[in-house]
Amino acid sequence: MDLTINGTVHTVDIPDDMPLLWVLRDVLGMTGTKFGCGIAQCGACTVHLDGAAVRSCQLPVGSVAGRKITTIEGVGDTPAGAKVQKAWLELEVIQCGYCQPGQIMSASALLATNPQPDDAAIDAAMAGNLCRCGTYVRIREGIKHAARS
């Protein structure tokens, strides 16, 4: 099976029903995408599939072959991803950081389609991403900061 991840084609020999999360982490060693709940409740595993934010823990890899996958390791090469990462550093959004790859992927997918999101749009796009450190104040500010940049 060929997977296009961050613009690079990876050929892997794996069952179709294996979630993309585990292909990334355990087979390809791309550990930036995180395991948080396994049931699409926390968003730590968020990646982009053709630019849209999806939970990779619930995404059978057989359904994504041939489609464009972007992970935290590659999102900085997209305009929205670069803006979000920069804003995250300028505002020091991050604490432990474990959920932040997922937060950044959700935030950059939001900004790619809605360059000036209001609070309601931020809530809608980000409510699926849990942060146990409680960085939500700065996540919201970070998205607005990135939108202004």
Partner: protein
């Protein structure tokens, strides 16, 4: 070389936080919130170049790269940055030449001045380590200057340092630290070194950018769960769902039929599946047919647990504070006038639920053991693995990592011990990762607490006070010297020293253990003691018809720092005006709380809206903080913001309950933590202070909970006494 501890941090003072706070050297620095953040950063997660060790913390390479080995671990609270600020300040190095490294298990060099053991927790890092690290930096700087002076044949007093360069002002000659490091490292460390005057600080007190976030934002940070070793296998465990239960039988056939499932490890109380990747291990575990022998605790349920702690609270307590004769004044209605008040508050088990679930990579080989894990207690991890493997602790190497959220959970080494027990049966390295369900159900929970308060009020003041705390002792297991004469200093923390002036006071403690092992949880003891005190204050104010702010102010005449934060929060939140309208609910309320704990003073005001069905939305939280001298003001604000959110999850949603001996929750759908669309606005106001540094990781969580409960009381007229908030009790019945 051995760390030479600053005598003001000597642990012989005893283990009370207050004693340590009194011993903390004052760091006087200015608050500079609002200035442009310095953009140069130190680095982390990089290899350490060859060079010279000056002490356990500082290493200088010939290319001037400085490596700091940091004793307190980074789990989001920002201490890799604040510790780096302290070291770099006194060493006089440019922060972008610094690499931060994780400390190994080594209690002699990295044991906490507060806990003695090597542990990061309890909001102690700044008060414990800022002094010793500054001294370590100043000592290394003095040795570098001495070496340069010897090379030039001049008096070291005439040399200055800046950004890792030594200058002889008289001749204009310069030497880089890297050029003299080898020679300097061979010198004996000076017995005494002067620390910088705070007016000279370049880094301490400044909102220096965090050193750990550039790799985190890029997804490159390696947490324990991200470790990859050559020829590593992956495993996931299932542990007896009932405490004390055993494996009765396991049918492994379907699991072993899955291609890529390598092995099933069956131990007394758990089963683990070992496979080529985590997903296959999860599939294998699901395919096992496990019969459990549940043992003696299969009937444990939550109603019985509540009844047990209630009953225990009636038994004799051990006095932690006895001032005056509170009992006779509270029990004898003829002795004095005034009015008696009484209330009871109850607190559930809580899971920490850090986003990085329990995991540990272990390689048992040749009578030794290598661990890769993120832990708050490297020494306990080392000792725990050594014990179950039956080997010398010196044969266990702990490779520590960034921690994906601790909150007290990584103060326990149970995951390391379980992983080592599994790995002992596996050929080669194995990464053991808990599923979220297993992680929550096998937690070591914040214990249940039961607080009973009684007070006599005369002329608007509390004149006699009895606070009884009933709950499990964590210290008795975790740090036995901190459990003496029947008192757990953590369980009664927040109750022993209160901000209010009360003449006759009794605080006592009843240790009540259940089969559920208790553990520290962000906010620790003060979560329940201060919640109880502050809700009781509002109850009394309400029943006596006094404004809660005025009632508190009337008993703070001898506590200017507490009064200061209370006045500041009242001003900033607009106390005296109603909470604003909210589409969430017609009933609105504003509540306050005040605390003094961890060496810091905080006051908070929360606004809530309550729907007809009793759902609570917190719309705004204003916090005032006096935490003494601050190393990094931006990190301090972030800790308060995060602490508030942690407290919101607890007060609105947090409970772990038992039925049939089993934990009823298992993932974020039934153990809810706050989401961004439930967030209030949060404002943090900091009082400039030259007092000793206090802790700030815990207090935001502590102060938020009673502020919200008091706001709900104001909105509904109902004071809820068992946490979390139960909508059924505040739903509109009409």
């Amino acid at each position: 070389m051995q760390r030479d501890p600053d005598p003001t941090f000597a642990a012989g003072d005893g283990l009370s936080r207050r004693a340590l706070l009194r011993g903390t050297a004052a760091l006087a620095g200015g608050l500079l919130i609002g200035i442009e953040l310095p953009l140069r950063r130190a680095r982390a997660d990089e290899p350490v170049p060859v060079g010279t060790h000056f002490n356990a913390f500082i290493h200088v390479a010939p290319d001037d790269t400085v490596t700091f080995t940091l004793p307190a671990v980074e789990m989001g609270q920002g201490v890799y940055t604040s510790q780096t600020q302290c070291l770099a300040e006194e060493l006089d190095v440019a922060i972008d030449r610094v690499i931060a490294a994780h400390a190994p298990a080594d209690q002699a060099n990295y044991g906490s001045p507060v806990f003695i053991v090597q542990a990061t927790g309890g909001s102690t890092t700044t008060l414990a380590w800022s002094g010793p690290l500054r001294k370590a930096g100043a000592t290394a700087r003095a040795m570098l200057v001495q070496a340069a002076a010897a090379q030039w044949g001049v008096d070291p007093a005439g040399l200055t340092t800046e950004n890792g360069v030594i200058t002889d002002k008289a001749s204009g000659r310069m030497l880089r630290y890297g050029e003299v490091a080898d020679r300097a490292g061979a010198l004996p460390p000076p017995a005494n070194v002067a620390l910088k005057d705070p007016s000279q600080f370049r880094l301490i007190g400044k909102p220096v950018h965090r050193i750990d976030t550039p790799t985190k934002v890029a997804g490159k940070t390696v947490y324990g769960i991200d470790v990859m070793r050559p020829d590593m296998k992956f495993a996931t465990p299932r542990i007896s769902p009932v405490f004390g239960g055993k494996v009765a039988s396991v049918d492994q056939s379907k699991a072993l039929a899955i291609s890529g499932v390598r092995q099933v490890v069956v131990l007394d109380d758990l089963v683990a599946v070992v496979a080529d990747n985590t997903w296959l291990a999860i599939q294998g575990l699901a395919a096992l047919a496990i019969e459990w022998a549940p043992g003696a605790h299969a009937d444990m349920d939550q109603a019985q647990l509540w009844a047990d702690i209630e009953k225990a609270s009636e038994g004799p307590g051990v006095a932690a504070v006895r001032e005056g004769d509170a009992l006779s004044k509270l029990n004898n209605s003829n002795s004095t006038g005034g009015t008696l008040f009484e209330a009871t508050y109850e607190f559930p088990f809580l899971a920490h639920a850090p986003m990085e679930m329990t995991n540990c990579t272990v390689h048992v080989h040749d009578g030794a053991c290598d661990l890769w894990v993120g832990t708050q207690v490297p020494g306990y991890a080392q000792a725990g693995a050594a014990k179950v493997l039956g080997i010398d602790p010196a044969k266990v190497t702990v490779n520590n990592h960034y921690i994906g959220g601790g909150f007290g959970r990584r103060l326990e080494a149970d995951g390391v011990v379980t992983a080592a027990r599994i790995a002992a049966h596996v050929d080669g390295p194995v990464k053991v990762v808990w599923s979220r369900e297993e992680d929550i159900r096998q937690e070591l929970f914040r214990p249940m607490y039961h607080d009973r308060l009684k007070a006599r009020v005369e002329n608007g003041r509390i004149t006699a006070w009895h606070h009884r705390v009933t709950g499990a002792s964590i210290m008795a297991r975790w740090l036995p010297p901190a459990f003496t004469n029947g008192i757990d200093i953590d369980a009664v923390d927040g109750a022993v020293e209160i901000p209010y002036g009360v003449a006759d006071r009794l605080v006592d403690y009843i240790r009540h253990m259940s089969i559920v092992p208790p553990a520290f949880w962000r906010g620790v003891g003060p979560n329940s003691t201060i919640f109880s005190i502050e809700c009781f204050m509002d109850l009394i104010a309400n029943k006596t018809g006094v404004d809660p702010l005025a009632f508190r102010r009337g008993m703070l005449d001898k506590n200017p720092r507490a009064l200061g934060v209370l006045n500041l929060v009242a001003e900033k939140a607009g106390w005296g005006t109603p909470a604003p309208d909210s589409p969430f609910g017609a009933r609105r309320g504003r509540g306050m709380a005040l605390m003094s704990a961890f060496g810091s003073y905080l006051a908070a005001i929360a606004d809530v809206a309550v729907s007809d069905t009793g759902d609570v939305r917190v719309t705004r939280v204003v916090v005032a903080v006096d935490a003494g001298v601050i190393v990094n003001p931006d990190i301090l604000v972030a800790q308060v913001e995060g602490g508030v959110v942690f407290g919101l999850s607890a007060v609105l949603h947090g409970k772990i309950t038992f039925a049939g001996g089993r934990v009823e929750q298992g993932n974020f759908n039934d153990y809810r933590i706050l989401r961004i669309d439930e967030m209030p606005a949060i404002e943090v106001h900091v009082v400039p202070s030259i007092e000793n540094s206090g802790g700030i990781g815990e207090p935001g969580t502590v102060i938020l909970q009673p502020a919200v409960a008091n706001a709900v009381f104001a909105a509904t007229g109902v004071q809820l006494t068992r946490m979390p908030i139960d909508p059924a009790q505040i739903a509109k019945t009409a």
